[in-house]
Each structure stands twice: as C-alpha cells, then as structure tokens.
C-alpha cells in the first residue's frame, strides 16, 4: 500500500518535476495564482501578505528582474540610463488605481493586445521561451505585489509640472 505524503511534500515534488522539465520544448509550469479582472483592473491582491514598497523599488530599478527602466523613464535620479519606449512612471500612482496598476503589470495585453509591455504574470501564448525561463512568469506573485505597492506611492507630479492632473484623491 502507498504511503500518503503530506501535501507540502507533494507540492515540492511537483516543483522539482517542473524544474527538471525546464529544458524540454514545451512549457510545463506550476499553475499561476488565479487573477480576477474587474473592468480595467485586478482589484484583489495576488498574495495574502501586503507588498513591500522598498523591495518593489529595487525590482523596478533592477534591469535583470523588473526590466522596467529599459523602456520607461521615471523619478529615479540615481539611474542614469532610462529607456524612452514607454510612458514616464512619474506620478503613475496618482493616475492609476492600485487595481489598474496590477492589471497593467500582470497582463497589459488584456487592455491592448498590441502592447510591447511584457505580461509579467501570464504564460499565455509564449513561444520559444529560453530554457532558464521556461514555465516561469517574469515576476512571482509576491514580486508583483511589491511592485504594485511601490507604484501606488509614486504620486508626485514631475518637477515643474504643477498642473499635472491628479485623477484620484489619496485614499
């Protein structure tokens, strides 16, 4: 008779099976956490614990993790090289709600299928993903929440841009 393994162990076994298969052509992934889209937002957090804005800032600035500043400029004076392929992140927390920010990072293609912004928490429609990244979203659920929490705090308008509209009052 088979010994029933505790759930945590089964999950571990599943995770290492996914890692072992990472060199195969097809993507085999642990299922992502479900996301509930409401209108143009994902109002509910992907994790139980709250995001950490300091960790979020580090991810946004890291060009091998968040990659954000490859495309976006933003209010980061210490970062000399910022891209100009995407809107400035300055004041984005005042322009968009937390849920709107979450949707744009999880899967912006839901709003604009042509967008060049990567879908950070979706495996849909991916082709020829390099072995090292197979089966993994670009950011983990906890990292998404860290980034969203950090972005909600980017409320200051650009310096000299006093007239920038603040669409939503602070909660």
């Amino acid at each position: 008779m088979r010994v029933r393994r505790p759930a945590a162990l089964r999950l571990l076994a599943l995770a290492s099976a996914a890692a072992a298969s990472a060199t195969r052509a097809e993507e085999i992934a642990l299922p992502l956490r479900p996301v509930a889209v409401v209108g143009d937002a994902i109002p509910a957090s992907l994790t139980e614990e709250a995001g950490d804005p300091a960790r979020g800032r580090a991810i946004v600035l890291d060009r091998t993790r968040g990659l954000c500043l490859l495309c976006h400029p933003g209010p980061f004076p210490e970062e000399r090289f910022q891209g100009n392929l995407a809107p400035d992140l300055t004041g984005v927390g005042a322009r968009l709600s937390e849920g709107q920010l979450r949707l744009r990072i999880v899967d912006g293609r839901l709003l604009n299928p042509q967008t060049i912004m990567p879908s950070y928490y979706s495996l849909a429609g991916r082709l020829r993903v390099a072995a090292a990244w197979q089966g993994r979203p670009i950011l983990a659920a906890r990292e998404i929440e860290d980034v969203v929490t950090f972005l909600t705090g980017l409320r200051d308008p650009a310096p000299g841009d006093r007239t920038a509209p603040v669409m939503r009052p602070a909660p």
């Binding site: 392929l85 060049i116 990244w133």
Partner: protein, 259 residues
Amino acid sequence: MIRSAVLVLAGLILAAEPAFPGGIAPSDKRSGLAEMGPELQAMQRDDTAHPGMLWVQDGADLWARAPTGGAPACSGCHGEARASMRGVAARYPAWDARNGRPIDLQDRINLCRRTHQHVEPLAYESADLLGLTAFVATQSRGMPIAPPEDPRLAPARREGRALFEARMGQLGLSCAICHDDHWGRHLGAAAIPQGHPTGYPLYRLEWQGMGSLQRRLRNCMSGMRAEPYPFGAPDYIALELYLAERAAPLPVETPALRP
C-alpha cells in the same frame, strides 16, 4: 452593411502593411554605424586602429596557406581575393544548388573546405572561420548589399520575415518591435539600431573580439529571453536572407566595429 465593414477591414489591413520591408523608408535607412559616437566611428574607419583588422590579416594568411593533404589553398583556385572575391559577400546568403538550400558566406567557405580541399569544416565562431569570412567579406567593402533575385530563395526569405515579426521568448517581444518600430529610441543605455547586417563578421567591444551575425542574433534572442537557435540553423539563414533584403542597398562595412 457587411460590405462596408469588409471595406473598413480591408482598409485597416492595407494601412497596417508597411510599404517597404520593415516599414523603414529608403531615405531613413541607415547602418548601425550612424548610431555610434564619433570616436567609435573613427575607430571603424581607421584600419590601423581597428582591432578587427587583426582577424582580417589572419584570414589573408589562411587564404594563401594550403591545407595538409595536398589540396590547393583558397588562393590556388581563386587567385587574388581582391579580384575574385569582390562583390561576393554583398550577395550572400545565396542558393547552394548542390545541396538545394540557401547558405551564408561562412557555410560557403566551409563547403569549399569540404568539397574542394577535403578537410574538416571550421567550427562556428572559431578564429579561423571568422578570419577567413571577414577577409572574403572585406573584399566587398563599400559595395551595396545586393541580394540575388533567385526565386528559390523566396520561401526562406519569407520565413525570415515571419521570424523577424514573431513575438517570442519570455518577454514576448519581436525583432520588429525594436528594429522596425523603435529604432533610434533608447532601451536603457543602448540606442536601438535598425538592425542591419552590414558589417559582419565584426569586432564588438562587449565581446572583446570578433563575432558572426549569428552570434549577434543569439545576443538579441537572449535579450528577449528566447531560446537561441543552434549555430548554422536554417532559421538563422532565413533571418539573414530577410535582413539582407531589408538592408539593401546599404554598403558592406566588414569588418565593422560596434559597442
């Protein structure tokens, strides 16, 4: 009603289809050379300061050296490269009738090694293959890229265009997103060039050495977090064919220099 919807749709499709390969107007077409600062441009133009010329010189030596086994050197059959190889690189990749497939210049050189010199092909990215290829391509310096109109190349060229426009990798980007739609903009610190294959093999400062066009394409694919094709894969030849068509008639720059 339906008719007008179809018309609108047709209009949209027409509007979406760029008029030129890559949607880059001929008057806007420019080499990655134009994207570099004046110091690097000067270094590329000065053969005595250009580190890539060391490889070209090694290639010249190999051209004249007979392999062991009694077969003639390249020069034994082709004579002076300055005359016989002039313009050759400008029309590669080309059709290899013997094997019934398109090949690029480095494959052509390895074919001569195998069929005419009866020696092993040189390894991809080896100093010898880069040197010989650069030496042969340098004989076309300044000549316009002129892809052959051979209809047998058309299917692979179409395939290359489809690959260029396909989203791939973990980031879901395509070559076209960067090189057709956002050239001239900045991706972090890097200026995005139009992505023309004008100078290969070339010396890249980041590599601190010479590399082939396939090595460059692998770099871009890794940046997209896509699985690069193995060296010599038909997918690269297809991409190289499309890139050549897209770049014509820019001049051959081999050996170019890039950051």
